[in-house]
């Protein structure tokens, strides 16, 4: 599976099979709703194989959140905390993602799971 942010050529996940991914959320403005969209592509190798009938499947998910800044220390400055987290999947002709559920709607810990993606 590949993951990129929409419009960004850099890979977040490059051709890996995994059951958990970490998505970077971009901070555009503070204390209002920000949006990040990510493209999750399944089976990219189908595009380059010999069988013309198999094709990769890209689904777009949209994550909305409100960033807030918290002061850490004089050496680190401020860190961002994300509140009011919500996530939706964009419907297209063939979705491989069935459902998205937000488990925790405030992100201040990078280790815990916040969103479950069912496919």
């Amino acid at each position: 599976m590949d993951v990129t942010a929409e419009g960004n050529p850099k890979y977040i996940v490059n051709d890996k099979t995994t059951d958990s991914i970490v998505l970077p959320l971009r901070v555009d403005a503070l204390d209002i709703l920000n949006t990040s969209r990510f493209v999750l592509t399944k089976d990219r190798d189908y595009d380059t194989d010999d069988d013309p009938n198999t094709v990769s499947n890209a689904d777009i998910i949209e994550v909305k959140y409100t960033p807030e800044l918290i002061y850490v220390s004089r050496a680190c400055g401020y860190k961002s905390v994300f509140n009011n987290l919500s996530a939706t999947r964009e419907t297209d002709l063939s979705n491989w993602i069935i459902d998205i559920q937000v488990i925790k709607d405030t992100i201040n810990n990078e280790n815990a799971a916040h969103i479950n993606i069912y496919h």
């Binding site: 977040i12 970077p24 901070v27 002061y71 004089r74 050496a75 680190c76 401020y78």
Partner: protein, 245 residues
Amino acid sequence: MQRISIFIISLIILMVFPETSFSQEVQEKNANDTIIIKQKYGLRLGGDIGRLVRSFIDDDYKGFEITADYRLTQKLYLAGELGTEENSIRNDYLDVTAKGSYFKAGIDYNLYRNWLDMENLIYTGLRVGVSTFSQNLNSYKIYTTDQYYDTPFTSTDLQEYKGLSAIWAELVIGIKAEIVTNLFIGFNAQLKGLVAEDQPTNFENLFIPGFNKTFDSGRFGFGFGYNVSYLIPIYKKNKKIAIED
């Protein structure tokens, strides 16, 4: 200049010869062998030239301090300092300017026994300091371990945290040497302990005028000063020196 060399030589002699060797030689004290010296009592006013010089050579700093002391007894002085400082601290993530004024008051105790009519000091003292200041956040960059997005969020909107105040206590040691009549040059070092401070919300005080930089690890800080001062003599008092031979 002659007096300061006498002062330095007398300092060295004081350290080399312990006092007890003198007293062992005295068999009897003759009450007639005393010299009466007149000592000056008055107000000594001065300025901190170290801070003045730093204001010119350091772009991030502007400050000045007025020092004063008033002699109470032969060894005890009432002392105070009044100053104003503006200092900027910059690192990768924060750009902060602290600006304000401070006042310190306390006592100085002269540990040095002057020869004849010299008026030099090697002193230790205590102060209580108070400052009112503002901590202004000029710009910051968000600390993030992720480098996926090329530029992390940066803000250059000035955020002012005004009307902050702090109180601290100080232990001072220093010297003041009379170079020409009534003109003194001095150096002192201060060990400070914060008693109370107003913390700005979602931020902290990186620098407090009069207290210097604050440290994460505790309430302590330190500072030093170079000053030039002039003694305005008000009255004279007798000091008796017994001659021991």
